[in-house]
Symmetry: C2
Subunit: 320 residues, 2 copies
């Protein structure tokens, strides 16, 4: 049955891919974005669809948000400051764009009688997890980044609204996501650096950081499946592939695809920056028990991302 969904952060990497999928499935979509990092070009297809309505606004404006949400059946709340690395340069940004923004989304839902929400959280909420692969109910974490802290705070608010106001939520703790419209992260950075100077590649950390990645369409499959099938009040799912790679592996795949052999210049020890987590690997048995599994490997994801960047070099100039 066709529904009307709000997608916040609709012009972002994951948001715009989700919008296209929802529209393709015959649903109506109200897209909300302030274009602080979102790209209008990501919405070219959506804007040609009469089931899509774009509302350009900042979700920190609660009154406007209440109006924007009118008539929606559920909300996919993806808008966020997704920058983990530079959190300490502007601590207020994570608080406002991730925590307070999530509060606004919940209040706008409450004002409109909307009770179902999907939330893009992050594996960063586990801090440096003592249990790996990390399950959703692993030990009470200690936050190590302002980004993780702000997303954990968003999760807590959503859960409290489920208990207090009868909401139902699917909360997704992502590993890093790769694929078309990717505009942020290590593949982006490496590609950009190699584009400037193919002979050398500065690497933050020793390259041995172990990380997990997921291809964006696999991620969207999981989100939609969970929203359809999950029945508890608060449903929390790790999303990732069943494994990890080293940063060095990823560098190898990128260089191989580009036909480059740069000199690798490591710096910073086992962590690339303050709060960098040297090992991220999430236990995804819970989402797999609903019948989902990723169709693409980490290598597939990296290669598709490089291919996307190669044919869309405009994204390097589009950053604000």
């Amino acid at each position: 049955m066709a529904s009307t969904f709000v997608v916040t952060g609709c012009a972002g990497f994951i948001g715009s891919n989700l919008v296209d999928r929802l529209l393709g499935d015959g649903h109506a979509v109200i897209g909300v974005d302030n274009f602080s990092t979102g790209q209008r070009r990501f919405l070219e297809g959506a804007l040609a669809n009469r089931n899509f309505r774009l509302i350009e606004m900042d979700i920190l404006d609660l009154d406007l948000l209440k109006t924007a949400f009118q008539g929606a059946d559920a909300v996919f709340h993806l808008a966020a400051n997704a920058d983990v690395r530079f959190g300490t340069e502007h601590p207020r940004k994570d608080l406002e764009q991730n925590t307070i923004a999530t509060y606004n989304v919940l209040e706008a839902m409450r004002a409109n009688g909307i009770r179902k929400i999907a939330f893009s959280s992050t594996g960063s909420v586990y801090g440096e997890a003592p249990v790996i692969p990390t399950p959703e109910d692993g030990p009470f974490p200690i936050q190590t980044s302002l980004y993780g802290a702000s997303k954990a705070a968003g999760e807590g608010l959503i859960s409290a609204y489920c208990e207090g106001f009868g909401f139902q939520a699917c909360i997704f703790r992502f590993v890093s996501i790769l694929g078309e419209r990717y505009t942020h992260g290590h593949v982006f950075d490496f590609y950009e650096k190699l584009n400037k100077d193919p002979t050398r590649l500065p690497v933050l950390g020793n390259g041995k950081q172990r990380k997990s990645y997921l291809y964006v369409q696999d991620c969207i499959d999981a989100i939609l499946l969970a929203m359809e099938k999950a029945e508890a009040k608060v449903n929390i799912f790790n999303l990732g592939v069943d494994g990890y790679c080293e940063v060095n592996d990823s560098i190898g795949w990128i260089c191989e695809t580009l036909g480059l052999s740069p000199n690798l210049e490591y710096s910073g020890g086992d962590r690339g920056w303050i709060g960098d987590n040297p090992f991220i690997f999430l236990d995804t048995k819970r989402i797999q028990s609903l019948g989902w599994k990723p169709k693409y490997s980490i290598r597939d994801g990296v290669l598709r991302t490089v291919e996307y960047l190669r044919t869309n070099e405009w994204v390097f100039n589009a950053r604000t």
Copy 2:
């Protein structure tokens, strides 16, 4: 060695008792309070001490807070909205007074080069804990109250500042605190109701909710000991007695002390209100390993509280 400490919420129940203790130990105290729930009478002793400076302000005013913190060595951040029960009536209050306020405290510290903080969190951050007695590193909780969510968010921010800005923190997850200057909670409510009508006592829930309580001076002993001895970057301690009572036990002690036999009128099933946790009992081995143990039982705490209320009935009229 005498230090200068900031105490936010200095006119509150725990805050004012802490101020008196710190001044008694020869320290200087900068007390911050907006008197939204704090009581000027709780500071009578402190205001007569030349080592005490009161700054009446709202900690949501970050610029003023930065000035207030000048010259301090460490901060005891106790200011909060402590009302768990009515969270759903004003969801913004917990966000502002607990989460954003904590962010402001951290920023004011950073602006002044202060790096040590004690934070009054709560056992409510565990939601309905699946492990009881609940240890500090029990399963990743799902929040069930806006209060718990806002305090968990405060903890996350503090931990991220420890990692990102070299802060050191002691985070205390309290059970309910009892004792002199108590102005809020079940003993207060029961006393007030019995004062109005000694023949009947309406009880939220079935009276079988199991809760743990701690006497305020024991609580302060633990806070000061931890601030002295804890050495990790982020130190998290449950604070409570080694046991629990039923709400019915507490009612019995109160009625016995007052010489009353009211008709008990239960309502609401096994939870007194939305988000009420039917069983709170924290594992306190970690703080005990530093050499602390409570000197007072739950019964002692209840009796001392009743005695305090009996000789300070003005507090029932002082609420805002």
